[in-house]
Symmetry: C2
Subunit: 253 residues, 2 copies
Amino acid sequence: MISVVIIGSGNVAQHLISAFAKSDTVEVIQVFSRTVDTSIKNIDSSKIISAFYQLKAADLYIISVTDKAIAEVSAQIPFENQLVVHTSGSVAISALNSKNRRGVFYPLQTFTKNKPVDFGEIPICLEAENEKDYQLLETVGKSISDKIFPINSEQRKALHVAAVFVCNFVNHLYEIGNEICKENEIPFEILQPLIQETAAKIMTLSPTEAQTGPAKRNDTQTINTHLNFLSNETQKEIYKILTKSIIDNGKKL
Amino acid sequence: MISVVIIGSGNVAQHLISAFAKSDTVEVIQVFSRTVDTSIKNIDSSKIISAFYQLKAADLYIISVTDKAIAEVSAQIPFENQLVVHTSGSVAISALNSKNRRGVFYPLQTFTKNKPVDFGEIPICLEAENEKDYQLLETVGKSISDKIFPINSEQRKALHVAAVFVCNFVNHLYEIGNEICKENEIPFEILQPLIQETAAKIMTLSPTEAQTGPAKRNDTQTINTHLNFLSNETQKEIYKILTKSIIDNGKKL
Protein backbone atom coordinates (compact mmCIF):
# COMPACT_ATOMS: atom_id res chain seq x y z
CA MET A 1 0.00 0.00 0.00
CA ILE A 2 1.14 3.53 -0.76
CA SER A 3 0.72 5.63 2.38
CA VAL A 4 -0.65 9.12 1.87
CA VAL A 5 -1.17 12.04 4.23
CA ILE A 6 -3.72 14.65 3.20
CA ILE A 7 -3.08 18.14 4.55
CA GLY A 8 -6.29 20.16 4.41
CA SER A 9 -9.99 19.46 4.83
CA GLY A 10 -11.69 21.59 2.18
CA ASN A 11 -13.72 20.41 -0.82
CA VAL A 12 -10.84 18.95 -2.82
CA ALA A 13 -9.30 17.27 0.26
CA GLN A 14 -12.65 15.72 1.17
CA HIS A 15 -13.24 14.41 -2.35
CA LEU A 16 -9.72 12.92 -2.44
CA ILE A 17 -10.23 11.23 0.95
CA SER A 18 -13.50 9.70 -0.28
CA ALA A 19 -11.91 8.54 -3.56
CA PHE A 20 -8.85 6.98 -1.86
CA ALA A 21 -11.14 5.22 0.63
CA LYS A 22 -12.23 3.02 -2.30
CA SER A 23 -8.67 2.42 -3.57
CA ASP A 24 -6.82 -0.88 -3.07
CA THR A 25 -3.36 0.60 -3.58
CA VAL A 26 -3.49 3.83 -1.61
CA GLU A 27 -4.18 4.29 2.07
CA VAL A 28 -4.78 7.67 3.67
CA ILE A 29 -2.99 7.28 6.98
CA GLN A 30 -3.59 10.80 8.30
CA VAL A 31 -5.59 13.92 7.55
CA PHE A 32 -4.32 17.24 8.86
CA SER A 33 -7.00 19.80 9.68
CA ARG A 34 -6.10 23.03 11.52
CA THR A 35 -9.26 22.83 13.54
CA VAL A 36 -9.97 19.14 14.15
CA ASP A 37 -12.94 18.78 11.85
CA THR A 38 -15.09 15.81 12.81
CA SER A 39 -17.33 16.34 9.77
CA ILE A 40 -14.63 14.88 7.51
CA LYS A 41 -16.06 11.74 5.93
CA ASN A 42 -14.52 8.37 5.00
CA ILE A 43 -11.68 8.61 7.50
CA ASP A 44 -11.42 7.31 11.04
CA SER A 45 -11.50 10.29 13.41
CA SER A 46 -8.38 8.96 15.21
CA LYS A 47 -6.45 9.71 12.01
CA ILE A 48 -7.34 13.39 12.00
CA ILE A 49 -4.58 15.57 13.45
CA SER A 50 -4.22 19.31 13.93
CA ALA A 51 -0.51 19.85 14.69
CA PHE A 52 2.40 19.38 12.29
CA TYR A 53 4.57 17.57 14.83
CA GLN A 54 1.98 14.74 14.78
CA LEU A 55 2.66 14.01 11.11
CA LYS A 56 3.79 10.44 10.43
CA ALA A 57 6.20 9.25 7.78
CA ALA A 58 4.39 8.59 4.50
CA ASP A 59 5.13 7.93 0.83
CA LEU A 60 3.28 11.05 -0.21
CA TYR A 61 2.01 14.28 1.38
CA ILE A 62 -0.82 15.93 -0.52
CA ILE A 63 -1.30 19.58 0.45
CA SER A 64 -4.85 20.60 -0.41
CA VAL A 65 -5.27 24.06 1.10
CA THR A 66 -5.98 27.54 -0.31
CA ASP A 67 -3.42 28.67 -2.87
CA LYS A 68 -2.03 31.37 -0.61
CA ALA A 69 -1.28 28.90 2.22
CA ILE A 70 0.60 26.30 0.13
CA ALA A 71 4.10 27.76 0.57
CA GLU A 72 3.75 28.23 4.32
CA VAL A 73 2.15 24.84 4.93
CA SER A 74 4.85 23.09 2.87
CA ALA A 75 7.53 24.81 5.01
CA GLN A 76 5.94 23.46 8.20
CA ILE A 77 6.20 19.80 7.28
CA PRO A 78 8.77 18.47 9.78
CA PHE A 79 10.52 16.19 7.29
CA GLU A 80 13.07 16.49 4.51
CA ASN A 81 13.46 14.78 1.15
CA GLN A 82 9.87 13.44 1.24
CA LEU A 83 7.50 13.67 -1.72
CA VAL A 84 5.20 16.66 -1.17
CA VAL A 85 2.63 17.78 -3.75
CA HIS A 86 -0.11 20.37 -3.93
CA THR A 87 -3.46 20.11 -5.73
CA SER A 88 -3.75 23.60 -7.14
CA GLY A 89 -4.29 24.54 -10.75
CA SER A 90 -2.82 27.98 -10.35
CA VAL A 91 0.30 27.53 -8.20
CA ALA A 92 3.71 26.57 -9.66
CA ILE A 93 5.58 23.50 -8.39
CA SER A 94 8.27 25.93 -7.16
CA ALA A 95 5.92 27.36 -4.53
CA LEU A 96 6.50 24.24 -2.45
CA ASN A 97 9.37 24.39 0.05
CA SER A 98 12.52 22.94 -1.53
CA LYS A 99 13.57 20.91 1.51
CA ASN A 100 11.30 18.15 0.16
CA ARG A 101 10.90 16.53 -3.29
CA ARG A 102 8.13 18.43 -5.01
CA GLY A 103 5.23 17.64 -7.28
CA VAL A 104 1.71 18.54 -8.31
CA PHE A 105 -1.41 16.37 -8.18
CA TYR A 106 -4.13 18.52 -9.73
CA PRO A 107 -7.57 16.97 -10.26
CA LEU A 108 -9.24 19.19 -12.82
CA GLN A 109 -12.83 19.31 -11.73
CA THR A 110 -15.29 21.59 -9.99
CA PHE A 111 -15.93 20.24 -6.52
CA THR A 112 -18.99 21.22 -4.57
CA LYS A 113 -19.35 20.27 -0.94
CA ASN A 114 -21.75 17.34 -0.43
CA LYS A 115 -22.19 16.72 -4.16
CA PRO A 116 -20.52 13.39 -4.99
CA VAL A 117 -18.51 13.19 -8.20
CA ASP A 118 -17.37 10.18 -10.21
CA PHE A 119 -13.62 10.48 -9.68
CA GLY A 120 -12.90 7.86 -12.35
CA GLU A 121 -13.78 10.41 -15.04
CA ILE A 122 -11.77 13.28 -13.57
CA PRO A 123 -8.52 14.13 -15.35
CA ILE A 124 -5.59 14.36 -12.95
CA CYS A 125 -2.67 16.52 -14.07
CA LEU A 126 0.68 15.41 -12.69
CA GLU A 127 4.07 17.02 -12.38
CA ALA A 128 7.19 15.89 -10.52
CA GLU A 129 10.87 16.77 -10.38
CA ASN A 130 12.11 13.31 -11.27
CA GLU A 131 10.88 10.21 -13.07
CA LYS A 132 10.58 8.03 -9.96
CA ASP A 133 8.36 10.53 -8.17
CA TYR A 134 6.27 10.96 -11.32
CA GLN A 135 5.72 7.21 -11.42
CA LEU A 136 4.53 7.15 -7.81
CA LEU A 137 2.11 10.01 -8.53
CA GLU A 138 0.93 8.15 -11.60
CA THR A 139 0.22 5.02 -9.53
CA VAL A 140 -1.66 7.08 -6.94
CA GLY A 141 -3.58 8.92 -9.68
CA LYS A 142 -4.49 5.72 -11.54
CA SER A 143 -5.89 4.24 -8.32
CA ILE A 144 -8.74 6.77 -8.49
CA SER A 145 -8.95 7.95 -12.13
CA ASP A 146 -8.58 6.60 -15.67
CA LYS A 147 -7.36 9.93 -16.98
CA ILE A 148 -3.82 10.87 -16.05
CA PHE A 149 -1.95 13.60 -17.93
CA PRO A 150 1.61 14.93 -17.55
CA ILE A 151 1.18 18.71 -17.38
CA ASN A 152 4.03 21.05 -16.49
CA SER A 153 3.63 24.24 -14.45
CA GLU A 154 3.36 26.51 -17.51
CA GLN A 155 0.72 24.29 -19.10
CA ARG A 156 -1.13 24.01 -15.82
CA LYS A 157 -1.35 27.76 -15.59
CA ALA A 158 -2.90 27.84 -19.08
CA LEU A 159 -5.22 25.00 -18.18
CA HIS A 160 -6.42 26.76 -15.07
CA VAL A 161 -7.23 29.90 -17.03
CA ALA A 162 -9.07 27.79 -19.62
CA ALA A 163 -10.95 26.05 -16.80
CA VAL A 164 -12.08 29.40 -15.39
CA PHE A 165 -13.60 30.20 -18.80
CA VAL A 166 -15.37 26.86 -19.36
CA CYS A 167 -16.51 26.34 -15.77
CA ASN A 168 -16.66 29.42 -13.52
CA PHE A 169 -17.58 31.86 -16.28
CA VAL A 170 -19.98 29.43 -17.93
CA ASN A 171 -21.76 28.95 -14.60
CA HIS A 172 -22.01 32.72 -14.24
CA LEU A 173 -23.72 32.90 -17.63
CA TYR A 174 -26.20 30.31 -16.30
CA GLU A 175 -26.73 32.64 -13.35
CA ILE A 176 -27.48 35.57 -15.66
CA GLY A 177 -29.91 33.39 -17.63
CA ASN A 178 -31.60 32.49 -14.36
CA GLU A 179 -31.86 36.17 -13.35
CA ILE A 180 -33.44 37.14 -16.67
CA CYS A 181 -35.96 34.29 -16.30
CA LYS A 182 -36.88 35.30 -12.75
CA GLU A 183 -37.44 38.93 -13.71
CA ASN A 184 -39.87 37.79 -16.40
CA GLU A 185 -41.65 35.01 -14.50
CA ILE A 186 -40.30 32.28 -16.74
CA PRO A 187 -39.41 28.91 -15.17
CA PHE A 188 -35.62 28.39 -15.46
CA GLU A 189 -36.28 24.71 -16.28
CA ILE A 190 -37.23 25.82 -19.81
CA LEU A 191 -33.52 26.53 -20.33
CA GLN A 192 -32.25 23.27 -18.83
CA PRO A 193 -32.41 21.09 -21.99
CA LEU A 194 -30.66 23.85 -23.95
CA ILE A 195 -27.91 24.04 -21.34
CA GLN A 196 -27.40 20.26 -21.29
CA GLU A 197 -27.45 20.01 -25.10
CA THR A 198 -24.97 22.88 -25.45
CA ALA A 199 -22.53 21.00 -23.22
CA ALA A 200 -23.26 17.63 -24.86
CA LYS A 201 -22.72 18.98 -28.38
CA ILE A 202 -19.02 19.65 -27.88
CA MET A 203 -18.42 16.00 -27.02
CA THR A 204 -18.72 15.37 -30.77
CA LEU A 205 -18.31 18.79 -32.40
CA SER A 206 -15.58 21.39 -31.89
CA PRO A 207 -16.88 24.54 -30.15
CA THR A 208 -16.30 26.46 -33.38
CA GLU A 209 -18.47 24.02 -35.34
CA ALA A 210 -21.10 24.07 -32.60
CA GLN A 211 -21.49 27.87 -32.47
CA THR A 212 -24.98 29.18 -33.30
CA GLY A 213 -26.95 32.35 -32.55
CA PRO A 214 -27.33 35.98 -33.60
CA ALA A 215 -23.64 36.87 -33.18
CA LYS A 216 -22.55 33.90 -35.29
CA ARG A 217 -25.02 34.98 -38.00
CA ASN A 218 -23.96 38.62 -37.55
CA ASP A 219 -27.68 39.37 -37.14
CA THR A 220 -27.41 43.00 -36.01
CA GLN A 221 -31.17 43.47 -35.78
CA THR A 222 -31.56 40.73 -33.14
CA ILE A 223 -28.38 41.85 -31.36
CA ASN A 224 -29.76 45.39 -31.06
CA THR A 225 -33.15 44.13 -29.88
CA HIS A 226 -31.37 42.18 -27.14
CA LEU A 227 -29.19 45.13 -26.12
CA ASN A 228 -32.28 47.35 -25.88
CA PHE A 229 -34.00 44.69 -23.80
CA LEU A 230 -31.18 44.43 -21.23
CA SER A 231 -31.47 47.07 -18.54
CA ASN A 232 -28.64 45.76 -16.34
CA GLU A 233 -25.48 47.57 -17.46
CA THR A 234 -23.09 44.74 -16.58
CA GLN A 235 -25.21 42.21 -18.48
CA LYS A 236 -25.23 44.61 -21.43
CA GLU A 237 -21.42 44.89 -21.36
CA ILE A 238 -21.07 41.11 -21.20
CA TYR A 239 -23.48 40.75 -24.12
CA LYS A 240 -21.51 43.27 -26.18
CA ILE A 241 -18.01 41.88 -25.60
CA LEU A 242 -19.02 38.24 -26.16
CA THR A 243 -20.95 39.15 -29.30
CA LYS A 244 -17.95 41.09 -30.62
CA SER A 245 -15.66 38.16 -29.84
CA ILE A 246 -17.91 35.67 -31.69
CA ILE A 247 -18.16 38.00 -34.72
CA ASP A 248 -14.36 38.51 -34.73
CA ASN A 249 -13.77 34.75 -34.54
CA GLY A 250 -16.13 34.26 -37.48
CA LYS A 251 -14.02 36.66 -39.56
CA LYS A 252 -10.88 34.65 -38.81
CA LEU A 253 -12.34 31.45 -40.30
CA MET B 1 -54.71 14.02 -38.44
CA ILE B 2 -53.73 17.65 -38.12
CA SER B 3 -52.31 18.81 -41.45
CA VAL B 4 -49.24 21.01 -41.28
CA VAL B 5 -47.27 22.87 -43.92
CA ILE B 6 -43.68 23.78 -43.08
CA ILE B 7 -42.36 26.86 -44.82
CA GLY B 8 -38.56 26.81 -44.78
CA SER B 9 -35.85 24.16 -44.98
CA GLY B 10 -33.21 25.28 -42.49
CA ASN B 11 -32.07 23.53 -39.30
CA VAL B 12 -35.24 24.14 -37.28
CA ALA B 13 -37.50 23.24 -40.20
CA GLN B 14 -35.58 20.01 -40.81
CA HIS B 15 -35.73 19.00 -37.14
CA LEU B 16 -39.49 19.70 -37.04
CA ILE B 17 -40.05 17.64 -40.20
CA SER B 18 -38.14 14.72 -38.68
CA ALA B 19 -40.01 15.01 -35.36
CA PHE B 20 -43.48 15.18 -37.00
CA ALA B 21 -42.58 12.19 -39.19
CA LYS B 22 -42.80 10.09 -36.00
CA SER B 23 -46.07 11.69 -34.82
CA ASP B 24 -49.43 9.91 -35.03
CA THR B 25 -51.52 13.09 -34.82
CA VAL B 26 -49.68 15.46 -37.11
CA GLU B 27 -48.94 15.06 -40.80
CA VAL B 28 -46.62 17.34 -42.74
CA ILE B 29 -48.43 17.62 -46.06
CA GLN B 30 -46.02 20.07 -47.72
CA VAL B 31 -42.62 21.65 -47.24
CA PHE B 32 -41.92 24.96 -48.95
CA SER B 33 -38.29 25.52 -49.94
CA ARG B 34 -37.34 28.48 -52.16
CA THR B 35 -34.84 26.36 -54.03
CA VAL B 36 -36.29 22.84 -54.19
CA ASP B 37 -33.94 21.16 -51.75
CA THR B 38 -33.79 17.43 -52.29
CA SER B 39 -31.54 16.98 -49.25
CA ILE B 40 -34.54 17.51 -46.94
CA LYS B 41 -35.03 14.30 -44.97
CA ASN B 42 -38.13 12.45 -43.73
CA ILE B 43 -40.45 13.92 -46.36
CA ASP B 44 -41.47 12.60 -49.76
CA SER B 45 -39.82 14.76 -52.42
CA SER B 46 -43.20 15.15 -54.19
CA LYS B 47 -44.32 17.19 -51.18
CA ILE B 48 -41.57 19.75 -51.53
CA ILE B 49 -42.73 22.90 -53.31
CA SER B 50 -41.00 26.16 -54.23
CA ALA B 51 -43.81 28.54 -55.20
CA PHE B 52 -46.43 30.01 -52.88
CA TYR B 53 -49.31 29.40 -55.32
CA GLN B 54 -48.69 25.65 -54.84
CA LEU B 55 -49.56 25.83 -51.12
CA LYS B 56 -52.44 23.57 -50.12
CA ALA B 57 -55.06 24.20 -47.45
CA ALA B 58 -53.82 23.03 -44.04
CA ASP B 59 -54.71 23.29 -40.35
CA LEU B 60 -51.41 25.01 -39.59
CA TYR B 61 -48.63 26.80 -41.45
CA ILE B 62 -45.32 26.85 -39.65
CA ILE B 63 -42.95 29.50 -40.97
CA SER B 64 -39.40 28.51 -40.09
CA VAL B 65 -37.19 30.98 -41.94
CA THR B 66 -34.65 33.63 -40.91
CA ASP B 67 -36.12 36.26 -38.59
CA LYS B 68 -35.87 39.01 -41.19
CA ALA B 69 -37.90 37.05 -43.76
CA ILE B 70 -40.84 36.17 -41.48
CA ALA B 71 -42.98 39.24 -42.21
CA GLU B 72 -42.54 39.00 -45.97
CA VAL B 73 -43.07 35.25 -46.15
CA SER B 74 -46.23 35.49 -44.02
CA ALA B 75 -47.58 38.14 -46.44
CA GLN B 76 -47.06 35.81 -49.40
CA ILE B 77 -49.25 33.00 -48.10
CA PRO B 78 -52.19 33.02 -50.57
CA PHE B 79 -54.86 32.37 -47.91
CA GLU B 80 -56.76 34.34 -45.29
CA ASN B 81 -57.94 33.49 -41.77
CA GLN B 82 -55.66 30.42 -41.56
CA LEU B 83 -53.48 29.65 -38.54
CA VAL B 84 -49.94 30.81 -39.32
CA VAL B 85 -47.11 30.63 -36.77
CA HIS B 86 -43.39 31.30 -36.76
CA THR B 87 -40.69 29.45 -34.81
CA SER B 88 -38.51 32.36 -33.77
CA GLY B 89 -37.47 33.26 -30.26
CA SER B 90 -36.83 36.87 -31.09
CA VAL B 91 -39.73 37.94 -33.31
CA ALA B 92 -43.06 39.16 -31.90
CA ILE B 93 -46.33 37.53 -32.90
CA SER B 94 -47.29 40.85 -34.50
CA ALA B 95 -44.61 40.48 -37.17
CA LEU B 96 -46.85 37.96 -38.92
CA ASN B 97 -49.22 39.36 -41.53
CA SER B 98 -52.61 40.05 -39.94
CA LYS B 99 -54.66 38.60 -42.78
CA ASN B 100 -54.23 35.22 -41.04
CA ARG B 101 -54.71 34.07 -37.43
CA ARG B 102 -51.31 34.32 -35.81
CA GLY B 103 -49.28 32.33 -33.36
CA VAL B 104 -45.81 31.27 -32.28
CA PHE B 105 -44.39 27.75 -32.05
CA TYR B 106 -40.89 28.22 -30.62
CA PRO B 107 -38.86 25.11 -29.80
CA LEU B 108 -36.19 26.33 -27.42
CA GLN B 109 -33.14 24.35 -28.40
CA THR B 110 -29.90 24.71 -30.29
CA PHE B 111 -30.19 22.82 -33.55
CA THR B 112 -27.15 21.76 -35.48
CA LYS B 113 -27.47 20.34 -38.97
CA ASN B 114 -27.09 16.54 -39.07
CA LYS B 115 -26.95 16.21 -35.28
CA PRO B 116 -30.15 14.46 -34.14
CA VAL B 117 -31.85 15.77 -31.00
CA ASP B 118 -34.39 14.12 -28.72
CA PHE B 119 -37.39 16.35 -29.39
CA GLY B 120 -39.34 14.87 -26.48
CA GLU B 121 -37.13 16.83 -24.07
CA ILE B 122 -37.29 20.13 -25.93
CA PRO B 123 -39.49 22.83 -24.39
CA ILE B 124 -41.88 24.34 -26.92
CA CYS B 125 -43.10 27.86 -26.16
CA LEU B 126 -46.54 28.60 -27.54
CA GLU B 127 -48.51 31.76 -28.17
CA ALA B 128 -51.79 32.32 -30.02
CA GLU B 129 -54.38 35.05 -30.42
CA ASN B 130 -57.30 32.95 -29.21
CA GLU B 131 -57.90 29.91 -27.05
CA LYS B 132 -58.93 27.57 -29.87
CA ASP B 133 -55.75 28.24 -31.82
CA TYR B 134 -53.71 27.83 -28.65
CA GLN B 135 -55.29 24.40 -28.13
CA LEU B 136 -54.41 23.30 -31.64
CA LEU B 137 -50.81 24.44 -31.15
CA GLU B 138 -50.76 22.58 -27.84
CA THR B 139 -51.93 19.36 -29.54
CA VAL B 140 -49.31 19.76 -32.24
CA GLY B 141 -46.62 20.55 -29.65
CA LYS B 142 -47.56 17.60 -27.43
CA SER B 143 -47.28 15.25 -30.40
CA ILE B 144 -43.51 15.81 -30.38
CA SER B 145 -42.58 17.09 -26.89
CA ASP B 146 -43.54 16.58 -23.25
CA LYS B 147 -42.70 20.17 -22.34
CA ILE B 148 -45.18 22.77 -23.52
CA PHE B 149 -45.21 26.27 -22.04
CA PRO B 150 -47.46 29.27 -22.69
CA ILE B 151 -45.04 32.15 -23.26
CA ASN B 152 -46.18 35.55 -24.51
CA SER B 153 -44.16 37.74 -26.88
CA GLU B 154 -42.59 39.82 -24.09
CA GLN B 155 -41.55 36.72 -22.15
CA ARG B 156 -40.25 35.10 -25.29
CA LYS B 157 -38.02 38.08 -25.93
CA ALA B 158 -36.59 37.70 -22.41
CA LEU B 159 -36.23 33.95 -22.90
CA HIS B 160 -34.37 34.39 -26.15
CA VAL B 161 -31.91 36.79 -24.53
CA ALA B 162 -31.43 34.33 -21.64
CA ALA B 163 -30.89 31.53 -24.18
CA VAL B 164 -28.18 33.52 -25.92
CA PHE B 165 -26.35 33.77 -22.58
CA VAL B 166 -26.68 30.09 -21.58
CA CYS B 167 -26.13 28.61 -25.04
CA ASN B 168 -24.39 30.84 -27.62
CA PHE B 169 -22.20 32.68 -25.13
CA VAL B 170 -21.46 29.54 -23.13
CA ASN B 171 -20.35 27.80 -26.32
CA HIS B 172 -18.10 30.74 -27.12
CA LEU B 173 -16.43 30.35 -23.71
CA TYR B 174 -15.84 26.69 -24.63
CA GLU B 175 -14.23 27.99 -27.82
CA ILE B 176 -11.92 30.29 -25.84
CA GLY B 177 -11.00 27.38 -23.55
CA ASN B 178 -10.19 25.33 -26.64
CA GLU B 179 -8.00 28.13 -28.06
CA ILE B 180 -6.04 28.45 -24.82
CA CYS B 181 -5.49 24.66 -24.79
CA LYS B 182 -4.31 24.59 -28.41
CA GLU B 183 -1.84 27.42 -27.87
CA ASN B 184 -0.32 25.46 -24.97
CA GLU B 185 -0.41 21.96 -26.49
CA ILE B 186 -2.94 20.68 -23.99
CA PRO B 187 -5.59 18.20 -25.20
CA PHE B 188 -9.03 19.87 -24.96
CA GLU B 189 -10.46 16.54 -23.69
CA ILE B 190 -8.93 17.35 -20.28
CA LEU B 191 -11.62 20.04 -19.98
CA GLN B 192 -14.53 17.83 -21.11
CA PRO B 193 -15.46 16.30 -17.72
CA LEU B 194 -15.35 19.77 -16.16
CA ILE B 195 -17.65 21.13 -18.85
CA GLN B 196 -20.13 18.26 -18.48
CA GLU B 197 -20.10 18.47 -14.67
CA THR B 198 -20.60 22.25 -14.73
CA ALA B 199 -23.75 21.76 -16.83
CA ALA B 200 -24.91 18.76 -14.78
CA LYS B 201 -24.51 20.58 -11.46
CA ILE B 202 -27.25 23.10 -12.17
CA MET B 203 -29.79 20.30 -12.62
CA THR B 204 -29.76 20.05 -8.81
CA LEU B 205 -28.18 23.30 -7.59
CA SER B 206 -29.07 26.88 -8.50
CA PRO B 207 -26.32 28.57 -10.55
CA THR B 208 -25.64 30.87 -7.58
CA GLU B 209 -25.08 27.88 -5.29
CA ALA B 210 -22.94 26.17 -7.92
CA GLN B 211 -20.54 29.08 -8.47
CA THR B 212 -16.87 28.37 -7.68
CA GLY B 213 -13.52 29.85 -8.72
CA PRO B 214 -11.18 32.78 -8.09
CA ALA B 215 -13.81 35.48 -8.72
CA LYS B 216 -16.26 33.84 -6.32
CA ARG B 217 -13.51 33.71 -3.67
CA ASN B 218 -12.42 37.26 -4.59
CA ASP B 219 -8.91 35.80 -4.96
CA THR B 220 -7.19 38.84 -6.51
CA GLN B 221 -3.80 37.14 -6.67
CA THR B 222 -5.06 34.35 -8.95
CA ILE B 223 -7.17 36.81 -10.95
CA ASN B 224 -4.10 38.97 -11.62
CA THR B 225 -1.99 35.93 -12.53
CA HIS B 226 -4.65 34.97 -15.09
CA LEU B 227 -4.90 38.49 -16.51
CA ASN B 228 -1.12 38.62 -16.90
CA PHE B 229 -1.20 35.23 -18.60
CA LEU B 230 -3.80 36.25 -21.21
CA SER B 231 -2.21 37.98 -24.19
CA ASN B 232 -5.38 38.19 -26.31
CA GLU B 233 -6.98 41.56 -25.52
CA THR B 234 -10.56 40.40 -26.14
CA GLN B 235 -10.09 37.36 -23.89
CA LYS B 236 -8.65 39.68 -21.24
CA GLU B 237 -11.70 41.98 -21.47
CA ILE B 238 -14.06 39.01 -21.20
CA TYR B 239 -12.14 37.74 -18.17
CA LYS B 240 -12.35 41.16 -16.49
CA ILE B 241 -16.06 41.83 -17.02
CA LEU B 242 -17.17 38.31 -16.02
CA THR B 243 -14.95 38.40 -12.93
CA LYS B 244 -16.36 41.79 -11.96
CA SER B 245 -19.90 40.54 -12.46
CA ILE B 246 -19.31 37.45 -10.27
CA ILE B 247 -17.74 39.59 -7.53
CA ASP B 248 -20.63 42.09 -7.71
CA ASN B 249 -23.19 39.25 -7.48
CA GLY B 250 -21.38 37.92 -4.41
CA LYS B 251 -21.77 41.31 -2.72
CA LYS B 252 -25.52 41.27 -3.35
CA LEU B 253 -25.98 37.97 -1.46
